[in-house]
Symmetry: C2
Subunit: 551 residues, 2 copies
């Protein structure tokens, strides 16, 4: 257990994650194993998924740290034991003594690094240990990896469509699936390449940059500028005080109405909106960003914003920009940009034309793509519902399959070949080509010698005989690393910081060959097995039932 | 604050739900309100949704208790204040003193009872209080109600298709959106009419019945019956001990092979599967339920199960049944039923023919409906992914809109008429007809006199002039009740137990006119406003911008 202490990974981030957060059948099985004297048999399970989500050809692996935290803290409380006893009243006392004794000191976890690009069938995690204990981990591990990987992948896809230069803001807390859904969404969208979140609790817990200004309700809550009491606004450098900021704003609004190039765009603007903007600017003169679509974007919101921004400019402050939350975002962003540029030109305010335009309102991959095609002037996107609920595919479908017990390989057959498991304790490698792109992932039996740089490797499709190719790797990366050594003498990989995981994710995505990543008809990345593993799979398969008697 | 103590609702069930679990802009707005001296202005917000989910015409409201718990415990911790100060470094100290002082003692919450059937536009909750405080509640309230109502509705729809006589089991933890997603799913599926969950932590926290037996991995972990050591199985009444249970099972398997009516169905069964079943039955002789599809349902799983069940029967135990997790569930359930009935007949074992058949494997509303159409013999359904992720619609889209501030009604207009908010502090009623069905919901201004039994009421569509009807209610139910009276002298509704909420939900669903509930082309339930409210909405609308100046 020193591993856990040494790593500073005691204390789970999510207090809901306890050893009881698992399916009841893991306990009934544990009891049956215990009764049969099988509970200490050493089992190897693979955690993997069968299909990439969102019609794409890649997935980002996330959730590992939370799995490691769970096992580092794995210990039943006495009240949990009492509860289980009430649920399993016919089970013997000795079993509950056994449960009491369980920790994960004899479990080993090998995993691909969090934030890596991953593919179907390749184990994301290999978990070894006493069969009864490892099965207790099945449900929480799958739970922790499933949504984390799904939403990270979703975020990375949004980043791909939006492009590197845009700011992406996660606004999903209110539409997320519960409080923890919101917390996870903020964390994993950040890993997937988002820049900031609106979720204050996630900002605090994970150190993610926070963003947010005001809503429509703020604007609606104001009646008229007469309500606004601004008791003197100091200039940015503190050298002077503007005693009547409202009058200064009004004078700018009048000036704007006189500008030739803006003529006809607006007349009388909404005065309660103006009051709201003045109030917000007085509170945040250094960071004035206004939601401009409560009444009418071009006839009221944008001119009101500009009048306030120009008044702030007189005092040495630089306004941040606007947010659009409805309507034709492409058109409105272009019109707003023209308006800003005209002001920069007419009044000679440097930078006014490049004011940040943020867009929100039910955005997703498709709408971002459509905006790109139409042409737009949006600098930042606030994305919520579709991002955090993973609307187009709400689950990844990870599985956790027994691949070996007591050194005996196990295979799970199925009429559906995509559901056949790949047996044996395995090592997995990513082979890179001359141009630096990953070419293929290959799984091999544990005792096989690893692929070598410059030597050709036969990569076979696990199930289809005709699909095979020789690859000469320029670089070989072993994918599964030891994140929890248990009683083995292996070195333990450190759990990287959130920002390191995020950097890995971004680097890994950039490293992929572009045709795997495109939205339309991406090329599948190849996942293969070694010739030896191929032969062994098919030996087991042919001699299927009962597999055990083959050993 | 005595309200909270009296109700025993201190201590939120979910430790993630803190006052910081909200969007940053609620804090920046609070600061702007505070700077403008507006923070104590009394605001009224409605929480409602705009469209029923899943292509249906009803929704079940859930999540209220968690909202009330949040406000009962609403208090910033000093470290949360410090964090906010670091995020808003230019804000004045006085603001943080104000945040420190906030609790919800001056907030009032009126809500429809949890577990009620509800409809678009009608407020689920009306929240009144100082504008700065009520806005802080927006994000968590929407978060807590959105998924809760969505998954409860989804569960109720699964119940509707499955029929009252079936047992419904929620198996979603591993595919839920994070740990808390899994906890919420278990709670709200139970409210929506499910009978039990596999989630042990939810069983403990909420007192939901638990179910679970074993997985494929359990079966795969056995090699052969020689492995099985059953050290004497006592008979059910304790009067005798079977020294060789394995031999007893084997003798039954031989007998089954001789049965004329079962001839040709199976030959040699899988021996490692048999070993797993014997081990499981030895651990749970009173509750033997076997997963029979690891190898081949009819050629191995069902005969193996029956041999073990018959051996248990010799010792006075009654087996529970089987679970099917793949293949053609309709066909396999019918074949298994025939097998069980044949055994009951041939060996005279009472009840063997009505053994419980449970089905799982990616079930959803559509597959349940298809099974019904094909004809099946399934008694219980285990449902996971599609249920808990709300796959067909992953968000409800609740909103929280300002309808009044300082006694001034507010309306939010939009080019999209479905997005126009219904202004004013309102009372809402459900009018019932002669046959006991709800006929229409009607919203009225607070000072209007309520609809009366036996007197005709003009019910108007809020936006379409031609849509109106007179209704003579036989019963009038006021929908919004006081769940948090704040400083008012109103009586506080008790928060009912989980089982009471579930009972209300089931009763409410049964009470609806069937054409609103059917899956195909359901009739929309009517939601209306009073004549006075209609006139007022349209008065505000015509005189739109700026609305404030109309008052």
């Amino acid at each position: 257990m020193e591993n856990g202490d040494a790593a500073g990974i005691r204390g789970a981030t999510n207090p809901m994650v306890t050893p009881l957060l698992t399916d009841l059948y893991q306990f009934t099985m544990a009891y049956a194993y215990w009764k049969a004297g099988k509970h200490l048999e050493r089992a190897v399970f693979d955690l993997y998924f069968r299909k990439n989500p969102f019609g794409g050809e890649y997935t980002v692996f996330a959730g590992l740290e939370e799995c490691i935290r769970l096992i580092a803290n794995f210990k039943f409380k006495e009240e949990e034991i009492s509860f289980l006893r009430s649920v399993m009243p016919t089970s013997e006392d000795g079993f509950f003594d056994y449960l009491r004794s369980i920790n994960c000191s004899d479990v080993e976890v090998y995993a691909i690094s969090e934030g890596s690009v991953v593919f179907p069938k390749v184990p994301l995690m290999r978990v070894e240990g006493p069969v009864a204990v490892v099965q207790l981990l099945e449900t929480p591990f799958v739970n922790l990896v499933n949504y984390a990987s799904l939403v990270t992948t979703n975020a990375s896809r949004h980043r791909f469509v939006a492009g590197k230069s845009k700011t992406l803001l996660e606004f999903g807390l209110r539409r997320a699936q519960g409080p923890d859904g919101g917390m996870s969404a903020s964390k994993y969208c950040y890993i997937g390449g988002f820049d900031a979140t609106s979720n204050a609790a996630a900002g605090r817990l994970f150190g993610i940059p926070l963003r947010g200004t005001h809503s429509h309700a703020f604007v609606s809550s104001f009646m008229s500028p007469d309500q606004v009491v601004v008791s003197g606004l100091s200039s940015q450098d503190g050298s002077s005080t503007c005693e009547d900021f409202v009058a200064l704003v009004r004078s700018w609004l009048s000036k704007l109405q006189m500008v030739e190039s803006l003529r006809g765009i607006f007349g009388e603007t909404n005065q309660s909106e103006l009051a709201a903007f003045i109030s917000y600017a007085s509170a945040f003169p250094n960071n004035f960003l206004a939601l401009v679509d409560t009444y009418d974007v071009m006839r009221s919101g944008v001119p009101n914003f500009c009048a306030v921004a120009l008044a702030l400019n007189d005092l040495g402050y630089k306004a941040s920009g606007i947010r659009l939350d409805s309507g034709d975002l492409a058109y409105l962003s272009v019109e707003a940009r023209k308006f800003f540029r005209a002001i920069e030109k007419v009044f000679g305010v440097p930078g006014f034309g490049t004011m940040v335009i943020t867009a929100s309102n039910d955005l997703n991959e498709e709408t971002l793509d459509a905006l790109n095609k139409q042409g737009h002037e949006v600098d930042a996107f606030g994305i919520g519902t579709y991002l955090v609920t993973c609307y187009t595919q709400a689950a990844l479908g990870c599985v956790f399959k027994l691949v070996e017990i007591n050194n005996q390989p196990r295979i799970k057959l199925s009429e559906d070949v995509t559901k056949v498991s790949i047996p044996c304790k395995k090592r997995c490698y990513r082979l890179y080509g001359r141009e630096g792109y990953p070419l293929v992932d290959i799984m091999a039996r544990e005792n096989e010698s690893p692929p070598k740089v410059g030597e050709r490797v036969l990569c076979r499709h696990p199930f289809i005989e005709s699909k095979r190719a020789y690859v000469v790797p320029q670089h070989v990366e072993e994918l599964l690393k030891c994140y929890w050594p248990g009683n083995s003498s292996k070195a333990r990989e450190e759990l990287p910081s959130l920002n390191k995981i995020r950097a890995r994710c971004i680097q890994q995505l950039e490293q992929m060959r572009p045709d795997h990543m495109r939205r339309l008809n991406p090329t599948p990345y190849k996942v293969s097995v070694s010739a030896k593993l191929y032969d062994f799979i098919h030996y087991l398969w042919l001699n299927e039932a009962p597999v055990g008697e083959l050993q």
